[in-house]
Subunit: 317 residues, 2 copies
């Protein structure tokens, strides 16, 4: 069974008690600057500070009692780990989290606040997956992959269901891309509800594995993406994700590091919200003029807000 609209709707029913209905913000000055109308879906306000709570809740609450009895294990650059720890706590089972060295402090504390047990490892996907497999073998915990999983993708797609309920006549949705879990959920939800919506994935140029994979049809891997967007440092496109992305996504766009930081700051200033660099990536595409925004209604998924307030990228100490 792959991913379809029915599965995303079922996920929405399943996770509704466990997630927030996040608001959609707008801003006159940002609209005037681009000539379109921008609708920001604020998943930075989601539980645990990121959309990842949606996919994690769907996956954890999809487990049978037998599957769940020894807990869950996941690897993550931060937000998926916190979301899995939170969902596991809600279900009353242990959570084992594998995280790469160098994750921002607030993301680590976030995991700890939900009682997650952390194991650190090297940042490559291979090492992360191997560490997960060892923990699963030792504990019997069920794996909750960060993106290469239909339950997770279905949960992530629920943000777009809500966005299209609030703003039914959207023309374009811009979505940040790490491994492609949110992008798959977004694209399948959007095309299912409103086939005319154009779905654009946006990646940092320094972490453009999905853009390359999208072009070639082959899963491309990037050694150690050095982007400021720490949530998008995933160095490989998901195996289940790539065919869905090629089937449902209209375009992949990449943006520079400078514009990610400029976009982050512009959104803090105008919208009065705290978002992490990854969440600013779609607006960076607007700033770069990578597509024609004029006269269009554009949805942007603001993916998370877990950022170190002592280490803002525009402040040099």
């Amino acid at each position: 069974m792959s991913l379809d609209l029915a599965r995303i709707r079922a996920a929405h029913e399943r996770i509704r008690p466990h997630i927030k209905r996040t608001p959609v913000l707008t801003n006159d000055a940002l609209d005037a600057a681009c000539g379109g109308q921008l609708f920001f879906k604020c998943e930075n306000f989601q539980h645990a500070g990121a959309f990842k709570s949606r996919g994690a809740a769907n996956a954890v609450f999809s487990l049978t009692a037998a599957e769940a009895q020894h807990g869950v294990v996941a690897h993550s650059s931060g937000n998926h780990a916190a979301a899995v720890a939170r969902a596991a706590r809600l279900r009353g089972i242990p959570a084992y989290l594998v995280m790469p060295h160098g994750v921002p402090g607030p993301k680590v504390r976030n995991v700890e606040s939900y009682g997650g047990q952390i194991t650190y490892c090297e940042p490559s996907l291979t090492v992360r997956e191997a560490t997960c497999a060892q923990i699963a073998a030792a504990t019997g915990a069920a794996s909750i992959p960060p993106f290469d999983d239909y339950r997770v993708m279905a949960g992530q797609g629920t943000a777009t269901l809500e966005l299209l309920e609030d703003v039914p006549d959207i023309h374009v949705i811009l979505c940040p891309v790490g491994g492609g879990g949110l992008l798959c959920g977004t694209a399948v939800a959007a095309k299912g509800v409103r086939p005319a919506v154009r779905v654009i994935g946006v990646e940092p140029t320094l972490a453009d594995d999905v853009a390359q994979s999208f072009q070639t049809g082959q899963r491309v891997s990037i050694a150690t993406p050095a982007t400021v967007a720490d949530g998008l440092r995933t160095n490989c496109t998901g195996e289940k994700n790539l065919p869905l992305i090629r089937a449902h996504v209209d375009e992949m766009v990449t943006v520079s590091e400078d514009n990610i930081v400029a976009a982050m700051r512009a959104l803090w200033d105008a919208l009065k919200i705290v978002i992490e660099p990854s969440a600013a990536v779609p607006y960076a595409a607007v700033l770069e003029g990578r597509f024609d925004a004029r006269g269009r209604k554009i949805g942007l998924i603001l993916t998370g807000g877990n950022v170190d307030l002592d280490a803002l990228p525009w402040i040099t100490k």
Copy 2:
């Protein structure tokens, strides 16, 4: 005619096309920390970044055509100035703004972005009012006072109407206090809709003119309040405000500078929002344990989000 619920409801109808219905945010971790349930009314997302857009819109759109024909004049530490400039532009009339030296850059740019014409002066209320009077005499502009005005208070009270629509069973409302315009609107709206609501005004200890006036019944003036909460540096309680405050406000509480900064940072971290120091003042009262939050539903008005992102109070360069 003084201030009553009917006047606040009429203001809401009048300004509805010109303001945002701002969301109310909640957070599990903040609730767990205080033992109550906190409901944050996000006026930092309001047009021009502050609740001041409500009172300014009500005052400017209450003017007759004859009164409005030569524009409007206002003095303000920043947010009221931007709100008046915005309302005047919506009505198609000029706006003259008197602002004290030392206002944060973003607040100045905010005024300029709406086409407001700025005159700088010394920060005392006497000088600000005298400068306004000179401009009014020279131009014929109508004065829009920042707080000592029933039209302005009525507009500010509309935030509380919305808060009580969204969360009808609130026990306590915490409100930051500068000159007392928001506090009067909040108290009259809250007691009118739900007499059992307890209304608490919160001030920086360094700018406790309203707390002193509340105690003594005499309008107290403080030379130059040095608080980090730049929006609350008003050095005098409004003449029309004091009787309303004494009639409808249950308690005044003051908080330290350290706790204002700690509260500001805690709300950025937990709620993922940008608020200015003034907006953090009510949560500082929660942090200080200045009243028993346990088991109560507590509304907090987050007044604004216009802050210099290069000069955050917890970062020492």
